[in-house]
């Protein structure tokens, strides 16, 4: 399968450098929590700072490094923009990870370099980031071709020349665990050509049946891993712009409920899987929150409950002028299980009387019931509470 691998090297760092050009000139670290997410190449080469390393260690290794916290929401947004831009080139696009995507270019009737140039241009226009592009048969060869190009350049491997292209490339380019790469190097297998020169059975004997076979095939430029196209989900979006800037959460809640009413009307008999809330000032995103429902829902009341909970606890430092809600993952609503015994049935009444007697006997509640308070909370301890049965 003829694919283009589109890759923005050191994606997080590239995004941050767009916002803070200091990072282009100084050794820099992007960190998530207390771990390194990405580091400038010169920092990695000089001091060994690497992704996953505790930030404290990395700072000690090079105290002068500029450290910036990761903005994961922004990276997701920019990856989404990249995906959408690539959709203009070909209909089948897979986002492999943030900053790296594959496009099926098999059926596209264009010179490979011209196509790669077009891909780089649309990505740069949509994201402000310049990618490297590799065009080849299969994901692995395309990825290696892209990895060896500087941003803005393209590497094209002609069909049938994959093995020649890979011959002198380092085994460290293989998508394998660091231990496997180390194992290859201890066996004096430094290039992909070294592996390709061995019988398949010898590689299988060292690295196991399927693992060894995969290494051998990749070294030959054979990669059968299919493209898994990104599916565009239907979504519904409504936004409301206030007449003047708003800070009070009550106003946001009221606006949110109004938006939900509109969305529920458009949703009809279908259900939504996610609800994305955004508060903006002009085009600038001040706050956002993605809520994933435990099951698809069309229940406006349930959505409104979650919306109210989120917005009423919101502490904004700036005034909002626009509120937007997007319902995503539109599909059919899942089946619901009704209660076996209706609340007002005689069994419930006699049970309640018995529970009251037991409470009176012991002087404290002994029968409790679970009540859902925030069933969609991301924190399991906030979803339900126990209250005395007769409370």
């Amino acid at each position: 399968m003829r694919l283009a691998c589109v890759s923005v090297p050191r994606f997080a760092l590239a995004v941050e450098a767009r916002l803070d050009p200091r990072l282009l000139r100084a050794p820099a670290i992007v960190y998530d929590g207390n771990r390194v997410l990405e580091a400038s190449p010169e920092l990695t080469n000089a001091t060994g700072v690497h992704p996953g390393q505790p930030l404290r260690q990395a700072r000690a290794a090079y105290p002068g490094a500029v450290c910036v916290p990761a903005n994961l929401l922004l990276y997701r947004e920019i990856s989404g923009a990249m995906l959408q831009a690539l959709g203009q080139v070909g209909p089948q696009v897979e986002l492999a990870e943030q900053g790296r995507a594959y496009v099926d270019v098999g059926g596209l009737d264009a010179d490979a370099f011209a196509l790669a140039g077009k891909i780089a241009a649309v990505v740069q226009q949509a994201t402000g980031l310049l990618p490297s592009v590799g065009v080849a048969e299969g994901k692995f060869v395309a990825r290696v071709a892209a990895a060896l190009c500087p941003p803005g350049d393209a590497g094209v491997v002609p069909r049938g020349r994959e093995r020649d292209f890979l011959r002198d490339k380092s085994v460290s380019l293989l998508p394998a665990a660091p231990e496997t790469i180390e194992h290859l190097q201890t066996l004096a297998l430094h290039t992909l050509g070294d592996i390709a020169g061995l019988p398949k059975t010898a590689v299988e004997a060292q690295f196991g049946g399927s693992g060894g076979r995969r290494l051998w095939e990749l070294a030959h430029g054979i990669d059968r891993e299919p493209l898994r196209p990104h599916r565009t989900e239907e979504s519904l979006r409504e936004r409301l712009t206030f007449e003047g800037p708003v800070v009070a959460s009550e106003a946001l809640v009221m606006a949110g409920r109004q938006l939900l009413r509109r969305l529920a009307g458009r949703l009809g008999r279908r259900a939504a899987r996610t609800m994305h809330l955004q508060a903006l000032a002009g085009d600038r995103l001040l706050w956002e929150r993605l809520e994933t429902f435990r099951e698809p829902t069309a229940d406006e009341g349930r959505m409104a409950f979650i919306l109210t909970t989120r917005l009423s606890s919101l502490q904004l430092t700036e005034a909002v002028d626009t509120l937007a809600i997007t319902l995503g993952g539109i599909g059919r609503e899942a089946a619901r299980q009704p209660k076996l015994i209706a609340e007002a049935s005689p069994q419930i009444a006699s049970l309640a009387a018995a529970i009251q007697q037991v409470r009176a006997r012991y002087g404290r509640p002994v029968v409790w019931r679970a009540v859902e308070v925030d069933p969609c909370s991301r924190h399991p301890e906030e979803r339900a509470v126990l209250i005395p049965y007769d409370a």
Partner: protein
């Protein structure tokens, strides 16, 4: 920082369900649990059990805009003998807790 009621209110108060329970975990260099001190339903310290498989690993970041942010890294584990078990590491105080996602 994780703050919990500990599930011990007065007799008439509301009790939280599924409150995270502190536990001891031995993790590898990559932060993945290798052994956990599983005490089942008892209050005793319990015995150490090896982690057979990490089925899922994911992060929950929330309320970062408040003074009580939540930052957890959850691990959905299979312990030796095939027992499913979920733990998370509070990324703010660095402690481990058991909690099922139910």
């Amino acid at each position: 920082m994780l703050t919990t009621s500990g599930g011990t209110g007065g007799p008439d108060t509301v009790r939280r369900l599924n409150v995270p329970q502190p536990l001891r975990v031995e993790a590898g260099d990559d932060g993945t649990p290798r052994r956990v001190q599983h005490r089942g339903q008892t209050a005793r310290p319990g015995r150490w059990r090896a982690v057979d498989q990490v089925r899922e690993r994911y992060r929950v970041e929330d309320r970062w805009w408040t003074s009580e942010p939540v930052a957890r890294e959850y691990f959905d584990l299979l312990l030796d003998g095939g027992l499913p078990f979920a733990v998370f590491r509070d990324r703010i105080d660095g402690r481990w807790y058991a909690q099922r996602d139910g």
